[in-house]
């Protein structure tokens, strides 16, 4: 029983990391209509930015901010100089997916000679060990959970209570109508890339902290997990992505405790497939913050 309780605690950390990544990914898709397969590579690039900041003797928490800033700027530029020109030319959805896949490969291969193929670790990211009722977490893992909770609340506040959030939802629902109503959709989309890019960067640093040791090859894994949570929750639905993250994070760890750990991701993705079969639109489709009214 102890092992299941401990696994539940670890699942809380896992779902926190996935939630940050998945919410950024799904917002990007929901508002800009762009399935950005380079998301994982931006995450790992940001993780490396934080690594170099940390390596220079600065605490990883400052490195996290640097990673988030890098992710924001990088994503913004990626959209402005790569994705947006293709979209303006009327490139199809599938065409845009291929473009983002190409960008992903380019980032990975450009990064490789800079950072090398070997794994690296942040310095002093473990923190003290806390035990409570069978749950064993480090202070930094608890901090990661806290960061995720705060970010989710901020996203909720942004989407529900700010003008920018309402403009985002309007743009997501019908960009032409939103533009005709006087919403500066281009600026909204720029803001979306900055915000989701920051989430992406921050998620990269948190995921790297969570892994203790990371390498450039982890980018693809980051993307798959974020994508799975986003699809499970309903593509384009931030609250759905949060629920997807909870399910994948907890199931992954609990199945490792209950069954063979090498199959833990198989179980998590098996559930994803099952949900897709029973409810192809995802768990929260048309009910999330970005969905069209009604």
């Amino acid at each position: 029983m102890d092992l299941y309780v401990a696994a539940f605690g670890f699942g809380l950390v896992g779902m926190s990391v996935i939630a940050i990544a998945a919410v950024g990914f799904t917002m990007q898709f929901g508002i800009t209509n762009m399935i950005n397969l380079a998301y994982g590579e931006v995450m790992i690039s940001s993780a490396y930015v934080a690594y170099y900041v940390n390596k220079a003797g600065v605490t990883i928490w400052v490195g996290m901010i640097a990673g988030a800033l890098f992710g924001a700027v990088f994503s913004f530029l990626l959209n402005r100089f790569v994705y947006a020109p293709f979209q303006r030319k009327g490139t199809s959805h599938i065409g845009m997916v291929i473009v983002s896949l190409a960008v992903s490969l380019m980032i990975a291969n450009l990064l490789l000679p800079i950072v090398g193929y070997y794994s690296v670790s942040y310095q002093d990211t473990t923190g003290g060990l806390l035990r409570a009722g069978g749950i064993v977490l480090t202070t930094n893992q608890i901090a990661i959970i806290g960061v995720a909770v705060v970010l989710m609340l901020l996203i909720h506040g942004l989407l529900r209570y700010t003008r920018l959030g309402k403009a985002m939802r309007a743009t997501a629902a019908n960009p032409t109508l939103a533009r005709n109503c006087g919403i500066p959709t281009q600026r909204v989309i720029d803001a979306v890339w900055l915000i989701t890019g920051a989430l992406c960067g921050l998620a990269g640093v948190v995921a790297a902290m969570n892994s203790d040791s990371f390498a450039i090859s982890n980018g693809a894994g980051f993307l798959i997990t974020a994508l799975a949570a986003a699809v499970l929750g309903g593509a384009g639905q931030p609250y759905g992505a949060m629920i997807g993250a909870v399910i994948i994070g907890l199931v992954t760890e609990l199945s490792a405790a209950a069954w063979a750990p090498e199959y833990k991701e198989v179980v998590a993705f098996g559930i994803l497939v099952l949900v897709m079969v029973l409810r192809p639109q995802g768990l929260l489709a048309k009910r999330g913050a970005l969905a069209a009214a009604g």
Binding site: D2, L3, A6, A7, F10, V13, G14, V17, G116, Y117, Y118, S119, V120, S121, T126, L129, V136, T138, A207, N210, S211, D212, S213, F214, A215, S217, N218, G221, F222, T225, E253, L254, A256, A257, A260, P261, E262, Y263, K264, E265
Partner: protein, 439 residues
């Protein structure tokens, strides 16, 4: 649909035919004479994916071997070049990479790499193209292989597993460990150690506390580590390349900052592994709690000296090359390339069908053979009409009829700079016990 499938079948057949024709062209020069133009050594190994740390070690071997040959007249004047072919450590990616390599390069003199990740998939392809290959796989399926162009300069994985068990039971500076956790990656190569280690350890009185295959590249191993710690092992036997840092850091964290002794395979004697684990758990714990096994290298002598000089010089092409100065596979593959070049000179042929069998003659030698340690000396001896035995940077080779070369193990650790340090030996009696127990 039928038309589409018919086209697909036609397309596949046409592609296969083209590949086979190109492979046939690539594999055979017409015998006599060493020909002209550059020769190529294909480094067929993982350069990306979970085992991306393996390919560079082999590439470094080639970069060191090429100048040893080229600066001494080349192979009949032909210069040796090195090229990477990425298998991603996956059979599904490796097979097309191998096919493309043999189809697209008619000047291949040898192939090095082919780890346990992909050897089963690529060795038949390379063998069919009649290219001598030196594979860094310990898989038992190659213990009695019929592939004529396959060569293995390292023992089968079972011996690596026996040596790890030997380290656990007879290693210096600790009482015999009795309760072992087996933590191996879920890849083919790592899992090959589990069965022989289990048999040897249990038959010699030990108990397997937990056998835990772990998914390489996972983002965390918290639950796995919690389960492993719950089984109360006094030692961990492991090979989880690429994920060792993540796993071991978690062990230290959940165990209240204290490591459990861990014994790694010979693949853990690797600069990439050292750096990853050092960064994860700290140098003090790595030095204190890690033990490894390796083949008995001396890291000295004229062959090693030339290897080291060339490896350091290779930094201009590949900056990490000098890191592999004590990597066993780098030494062996360096020797394999030199032996292939000497075989070509000895037979005066660039046709692998002619020089392939000569490689083993040069490695094993005869009682009257002149022992040479460098390519330069080998060529000089051959030109003087002598029979030679090449003893290279990795030491002597003793190929059996299945092209497997065997040698003994030593027990090792690291120093703070990542250099290998010998800490003990297994006696012949201990080795016999381990082999008998492991079957």
């Amino acid at each position: 649909m039928k038309t589409f499938h018919a086209r697909m079948r036609f397309g596949s057949a046409a592609c296969s035919l083209a590949v086979l024709m190109l492979a046939a062209c690539g594999g055979g020069s017409s015998g006599g004479g060493l020909g002209s133009g550059d020769l190529l050594v294909g480094v067929l190994a993982p350069f990306s994916g979970a085992d991306a740390g393996l390919g560079p070690a082999y590439y470094a071997a080639c970069l060191a071997a090429a100048p040893a040959i080229n600066n001494n007249g080349g192979v009949g004047g032909r210069q040796v070049k090195c090229q990477q072919f990425d298998t991603r450590g996956e059979p599904a990616d490796a097979a097309p990479a191998a096919s493309a390599m043999v189809a697209g390069n008619s000047n291949l003199m040898a192939v090095v790499g082919c780890t346990s990740d992909e050897a089963s998939a690529v060795a038949p392809i390379v063998d069919k193209a009649h290219i001598p290959m030196f594979c860094m796989t310990g898989q038992s399926e190659f213990n009695k292989t019929n592939l004529k162009y396959f060569h293995r300069l390292v023992p089968a994985d079972v011996y690596d597993a026996f040596a790890m068990v030997g380290s656990a039971l007879y290693g210096p500076n600790h009482a015999p460990y009795k309760n072992a956790a087996l933590v191996f990656g879920d890849d083919i190569g790592s899992q090959a150690f589990v069965d022989p280690a289990t048999k040897a350890f249990t038959k010699l009185g030990g108990k397997i506390a937990i056998n835990q295959p772990i998914k390489l590249g996972a983002s965390s191993y918290r639950t796995e580590v919690a389960a492993m710690l719950k089984s109360n092992p006094d030692v961990i036997l492991t090979e989880a390349l690429g994920s060792a840092g993540t796993y071991l850091k978690e062990v230290k964290t959940q165990n209240g900052g204290k490591m459990i002794p861990f014994i790694g395979t010979s693949a853990t004697i690797d600069p990439t592994w050292f750096q990853q684990v050092r960064d994860a758990i700290g140098i003090d714990d790595l030095l204190k709690y890690y033990a490894g096994v390796d083949l008995g290298y001396t890291f000295s002598g004229p062959a090693y000296s030339e290897f080291l000089t060339n490896l350091n010089a290779a930094a201009s092409t590949f900056k990490d090359a000098p890191k592999y100065k004590q990597r066993g596979s780098t030494l062996h593959l360096y020797d394999g390339i030199i032996m292939t070049a000497l075989a070509m000179v000895a037979t005066n042929s660039a046709d692998p069908k002619v020089y392939n069998s000569k490689i083993i003659d040069i490695a094993n030698g005869t009682s009257s053979a002149t022992v040479v340690n460098t390519y330069k000396d080998g060529v000089a001896a051959l030109k003087a009409g002598k029979s030679i035995r090449f003893v290279g940077a990795g030491g002597e080779n003793n190929f059996d009829q299945y092209n497997n070369s065997q040698s003994g193990y030593i027990l090792v650790g690291y120093d703070k700079d990542g250099n290998e340090v010998t800490v003990g030996h297994l006696t012949p009696d201990q080795t016999s016990k381990l082999i008998a127990a492991g079957g």
